[in-house]
């Protein structure tokens, strides 16, 4: 009875669980002393005692009432507490309102004016808040999706919208820092004109060569123009723009990650295991559609079944014998080896495809279709690998005997590794190939990223219209055919789709330095993806039967976004620090950093032009003498936060103990008081209990 191993069971006093006189819980609130307790008095005004109050539904002491202690009389705790927030019926609120109005004449002009102003301000804020939330795009669609498919699918679309907004921000920054100055101050005289030339064709839009090569899409377009001051020139603005984008994105993504982490992991127990939330907050009261209601019922049922399954799984896991455990670990080891070999095979495929595509051959020798396919071979391979392997991982993880949430997370971790590593390997091989090239390196690199983005979008498009829609038609028209049975009903797999989103965004970040209009392309493709996925979800998918725990996975998603950003920053840094062959630059001076300049020259010139205190500060910030105190300061701050958090946690535990003990003290005392009063009134009735009572009375009585 005392001190179970469950978190919320504290030390029990016996009297809080049973009493000798009455076991009726209502009586506790009907006792006379209950009304005299200071805590109850504090929530009732004196007026509730007057019998002339017509709309009182508070309990007269000793009388049973339906509403109990919860709506005990008109409350006017604080004169500025809004009327609407009070827990009384409308008639009661009306009388409070009248009373307040009468008080106004006593209060005086200034206070009443302030009160009315605060009410007006509140109404204005509410209206503004309502207008702003109505501005959020696609709110209605998200609401409809949530009603039909649940929270997980909605989270995907929320992330999509967030990425669209992020890309819009990038576009604005790029326009301000990069495109704007080039438009206003022109480009250098030796740059090529932007006209449809002789060799250009529509294919250029897919290959990123020819016309597109010379267009503002790629790096080489932005040659330094007439803006040529020491600290304010086009190259510096270009660099500043990109750095601002990356830095701002880092702050936003880190903030989103930490908010999500705090929300799910550190709020005491994990939300997913809290059955009480499922029961009391499970039903969505906004549901009006019978189909949605049936769906919600099945969601809740599945959720609870999942919870029960996890309980029985943990029970089963605890009961594993040593032999079973050894066999299981061996099985897991071999499956992981299988996963690693699959990954290795995928990487080799990508290497092979990259080599093949870089082998240009004689131009004009091949047909345009062959050229297109060869150029797109790496994106095709990467997409194929990213499409196939996660499903294989999913199958593999089902053999490893984990709980369902653990399975999903294991698959996710492997898929994340696959996607990021395949991108990393591709970038690595591109670098190796491009080093031997004599053309503008940056444009070639930007071209590869551009092709990746375009192909991702095409894949999503074809997937929705040529794979999902026929599958749905097949299910509808011929549900008993073999193909339909094999394929099964499709559901919107949230984890894999979120991974796709994060991957596309990573590519966009990696390529933004070399292809400044990539965020604009990103906005267009993401918006189109929204509508494509909306079509796919609403028309082609059924709701998934087994829901996974979204909370832990969403932290993983944000973490992957962060990883992608870090990879982009690392790639950029690595590229910028590469030594450049002077022979290349001499012939092809491309982009803002052409003409023998590189990033360090340009920034060096700017720094030299600054006044000398600023220069010395900058050189100090650069040196290692600054880095060490910085690291020390960060460690100290971190330690103080962690220890403060721990101390708060301990205080919370102590306060919980106090809460439980004082409420059981209160119950004990109230019951004692009641029994004493009762004994005074009916001395003959409680004689059999009196003997035990004597033994249990506290010494003071």
């Amino acid at each position: 009875m005392e001190n179970k191993t469950v978190n919320f069971m504290r030390l029990l006093s016996e009297d809080s669980t049973h009493s000798t006189v009455s076991s009726d819980s209502c009586e506790y609130y009907q006792t006379e002393i209950f009304d005299l307790l200071p805590s109850i008095q504090a929530s009732r005004p004196e007026q509730s005692r007057k019998p002339s109050e017509a709309y009182q539904d508070g309990p007269v002491p000793g009388e049973e009432s339906i509403h109990g202690h919860l709506s005990s009389g008109p409350r006017d705790k604080a004169p500025t507490q809004p009327l609407r927030n009070m827990v009384i019926c409308i008639q009661g609120k009306r009388s409070v309102r009248d009373r307040r109005k009468m008080q106004i004449s006593d209060i005086g002009f200034w206070v009443s004016w302030r009160r009315s102003q605060s009410i007006t301000m509140k109404r204005v804020w509410e209206q503004m808040g309502g207008a702003l939330s109505g501005l959020l795009p696609w709110q209605h669609t998200l609401h409809a999706i949530e009603g039909r498919y649940g929270f997980g699918v909605k989270a995907y679309f929320v992330l999509l919208r967030y990425l669209v907004n992020l890309n819009l921000l990038h576009c604005a920054l790029i326009f301000g820092f990069i495109v704007g100055p080039t438009i206003f101050y022109g480009r250098s005289k030796s740059s090529e004109p932007l006209k449809f030339g002789g060799n250009d064709s529509v294919l250029d839009f897919f290959l990123g060569s020819g016309y597109l090569d010379r267009s503002p899409v790629f790096y080489c377009f932005y040659t330094p123009g007439s803006l040529n001051m020491q600290c304010l020139n086009t190259p510096l603005l270009y660099l500043a723009g990109i750095l601002t984008i990356l830095f701002l994105t880092l702050i936003l993504v880190v903030r989103r990650t930490t908010v999500g982490y705090k929300h799910t992991w550190m709020l005491g127990k994990q939300y997913s295991m809290n059955v009480s939330y499922k029961i009391f907050c499970g039903w969505d009261f906004t549901i009006q559609d019978p189909a949605a209601a049936t769906l919600k019922h099945s969601f809740i049922r599945n959720d609870l079944k999942l919870f029960l399954e996890e309980q029985s799984f943990s029970l089963r896991e605890a009961q594993r014998t040593l032999g079973q455990r050894v066999r299981l670990y061996l099985l897991r080891f071999f499956l992981n080896l299988l996963v690693l070999s699959l990954l290795g095979g995928a990487f080799y495929l990508i290497y092979f495809a990259t080599n093949k595509s870089q082998d240009q051959g004689i131009p004009g020798e091949r047909q345009w279709l062959v050229i297109l396919v060869l150029q797109y071979l790496p994106p095709i391979t990467i997409s194929f690998v990213n499409l196939l392997l996660p499903h294989i991982f999913r199958k593999i993880s089902s053999f490893e005997d984990y709980s369902f949430t653990m399975q999903v997370n294991a698959t996710l971790v492997r898929s994340i590794f696959l996607k990021l590593a395949s991108l990393g390997i591709y970038l690595f091989f591109i670098f190796k190939h491009l080093k031997d090239q004599s053309q503008c390196l940056e444009n070639l690199f930007g071209r590869e990223m551009y092709k990746l983005c375009i192909f991702n979008f095409l894949t999503a498009f074809c997937n929705a219209f040529f794979l999902n829609y026929p599958r749905k038609l097949l299910q509808e028209k011929y549900p008993s055919s073999l193909l339909a049975q094999l394929w099964g009903k499709q559901c919107f797999l949230v984890p894999f789709n979120v991974l796709d989103l994060v991957y596309i965004q990573t590519v966009s970040w990696v390529g933004v330095f070399y292809c400044p209009l990539l965020p604009l392309i990103g906005v267009v493709t993401l918006t189109a993806t929204f509508y494509i996925q909306k079509f796919s979800v609403l028309r082609c998918c059924v709701a998934e039967q087994r829901m996974f725990r979204g909370s832990s996975s969403s932290v993983l998603f944000h973490f992957m976004l962060l990883l992608g950003l870090l990879m982009a920053v690392a790639t950029l840094g690595f590229n910028l620090y590469q030594p450049r062959e002077p022979a290349c630059n001499h012939r092809f001076s491309c982009g803002p950093f052409g003409n023998g300049q590189n990033v360090f020259n340009v920034t060096g010139v700017c720094v030299d032009s600054l006044p000398s205190p600023a220069q010395s500060t900058l050189s100090y910030l650069n040196s290692s003498a600054f880095a060490l105190p910085l690291i020390l300061a960060e460690i100290i701050i971190l330690t103080s936060y962690v220890s403060r958090g721990r101390a708060n946690q301990k205080a919370i535990e102590r306060l919980k103990d106090m809460l439980v003990m004082s409420s059981s003290d209160k119950r004990f005392l109230v019951k004692q008081h009641t029994t004493l009063l009762r004994r005074q009134r009916n001395p003959c009735r409680v004689r059999p209990a009196a003997i035990e009572e004597n033994q249990r009375l506290p010494p003071e009585s």
Partner: protein
């Protein structure tokens, strides 16, 4: 504002606006909804506060409440007689508390009342079992129901009496992330 309406006096509308989370337009719209539930019973002129109550069966047929497994309990907890007969004031009060603008504490109080099926100011095991059966349309086996209810009480019960008092319930619900987003009805 546009046409002069004769359903309520201005003073009444002001009072409604202060006592609920609705604007004047919404109050008039609510009156329209209330009226169309029983056009022959509900008067169009409310200026002299007529005493008119609609029975539970009519109110529960509203599209906003029809699919809700707790529709009966919701209406009962807002009715003064506890039987589910709502006057217009109680009707407006109900939708005001369930609107999106009501604060968490207010909603928690009424949520407790709604889930308290036997109206004893405690959420005991029977209350929880009834709640769970309504939520899952009785598709869980009885053993599963008992298991889930025991776990729920274990989680939320602070003072160890194997049932949830309002303090336990409130403590649990204030930490629930989507209580506010699920516990509202849009009308």
């Amino acid at each position: 504002m546009g046409n002069k309406q004769t359903i309520f006096t201005d003073e009444q509308l002001d009072a409604y606006q202060d006592c609920t989370f609705f604007t004047r337009k919404e109050i008039l719209r609510l009156h329209g909804r209330y009226h169309e539930l029983a056009p022959h019973l509900v008067p169009m002129d409310y200026t002299n506060d007529p005493d008119c109550k609609l029975p539970l069966a009519l109110i529960v047929n509203m599209p906003e409440l029809k699919e809700n497994p707790f529709c009966n309990r919701i209406v009962e907890s807002f009715s003064e007689d506890g039987m589910g007969n709502l006057s217009f004031n109680e009707f407006v009060d109900m939708f005001s508390v369930l609107s999106e603008m009501a604060p968490r504490e207010l909603k928690a109080i009424y949520a407790f009342k709604i889930y308290d099926f036997n109206v004893d100011n405690y959420l005991c095991k029977e209350d929880l079992e009834k709640t769970l059966n309504r939520l899952t349309k009785e598709e869980l086996t009885p053993e599963e129901v008992v298991l889930v209810c025991e776990k729920a009480i274990e989680e939320a019960d602070l003072d160890g009496d194997h049932k949830l008092s309002y303090a336990d319930f409130e403590n649990m619900i204030t930490r629930a992330p989507d209580f506010l987003s699920t516990f509202h009805i849009r009308i």
